[in-house]
Amino acid sequence: MTSIPVVQCAGLTMAYGRRPALAGVSLEVPAGAVYALLGRNGSGKSTLVRALLGLARPRAGEARLFGEDVWRHRARAMARVGVVPETPDLPPAMSAAQASAFCGRLAPAWDGAGVAARLARLQVDPAMPVARLSRGQQTQVALALALGGRPELLVLDDPTLGLDPVARQDLYRELLDELAERGSTVFITTHDLAGIEGLADRVGILHQGRLLLDEPLEALKARFRQVRWATSGPEDLAALGPEALAALAPVAITRDAFGVQALVPGFTAEGLAAAGLAEASVTGASLEEIFMGLVNGEVQA
């Protein structure tokens, strides 16, 4: 028997008026996985999250949570989901304690004591109106509330945006604790590539509304290599020739004062030799390097 993925997008297409926002995005997140969706501002991450939460209707395709069309069955799905939005959206006059009590009356299962303990750990005054809390503290309140319903799925839309390093670390620590304790599925969109590297087990890269890549993080890092060689000038790169470039098949090439660096997927020593770069240095690529290469890279002949 195959288990139903917790998150499923199939051919998801969204648009704002005539402006396309997502073009046929398909992805799946199995139960217990931590999926990080990466992308630049305006790449469509928040739009995808809105579709996943049943807050916006896809123009084509579908978004499913726990196997059900979330647009149709939003209220039922939300009983199993905790959400940390990109921009804190708590009513400004409400305090964290009032918000917890309110959410507790609407949720089928609510861990009010857990929310209070989490707020205490994060040093957030539960009696302070949300409007008087800092941006980081509002996100912490949103996280505490998201975890209060003991969710099977946690959706976080760029939760580290505007957080200082300490608040960011606190957020990841809370997430790790939750994962260790309950093994929830996590779907997170973020710009914080370094932070997410130790947490995610699968990543997707969204660029201009299209999913460029979707695979396990370890496999991704094993697949990509940075190949670096010294050049005396731009003519060396031109001299590399189209055959060599085809053998190397880089997704991005960058030049600096010391040489050329190519981000190469599916790296093989034979490919390197065929490109005439047997002497080049080869290193592993970080998630940030892979992301930058894929969304910002330029391959020049």
Binding site: Y16, L55, A56, R74, V83, L90, L106
Partner: protein, 257 residues
Amino acid sequence: MSIRVIAAREMAERKLVWVAAGYMALAGLALPYLRGLSGAPAADARGVLGVALNLAFVGTLAALLGAAMIPGDLASGRIGFYLVRPVSVAAVLWGRLLGGWLLAVAGGLVVVLPQVVLGPWRDYRGWALVVGCTALLAIPVMLLAHVLAVSWRSRTLWILLDLTGLGLYGWFVVQLLIRLAMARAGRVNLDAFLLAALVLPTLALAVAAQLQLDQGRTDLRRGHRWLALSLAGGLLVSALLLSAPYLTILASSRTTG
């Protein structure tokens, strides 16, 4: 259950309304004396002022809350706080509107309470009628304010359809009323006609508000498209239903003529 929870929260969040209502009640008591009146004229003035202040307070608050609660949250993106909870869209919409309406009506009660207790008009049934009518009128006021605020905040050309539809409906009702008044000769109950002229568009506004949030959710523009089309349809149906008595009169005069 969810509607009650959401309505209660809406009421609890706006404590300043009680303060404002208290001040209005005091103003209603004190104003006649400040104008130099005393004795029976002052007491009567207090009674009239109580009715006027109740109407003004409930009407203004209903309009302000209707325009601010959900349209404001839609524009600022805060509506997501409610929509990521395990509650239906209807519970969010009607819970919040119910909370705002109860607040306006209860605030209005506070405004008239001193006049009811201390005033010269000990006609409690009369006061109940005043408060009841104000409360009922607050419903279309609140819904209209809600719909117009959504329409305005979505910044789409559908607003033209909304304004044209509402304007045409108002013009049509007035024209129909004039013709019915001239032609009725005891055959049409004008009170019932006026009640229907108010209730039918209120239902159209309610349906439009429900479809707007249900089909648009956080997408204000998409929601507004649903709102505009359903409101136009609802107003058209209302106008057709209202014209039935006049058409009946016309048909019978042709038969008899």
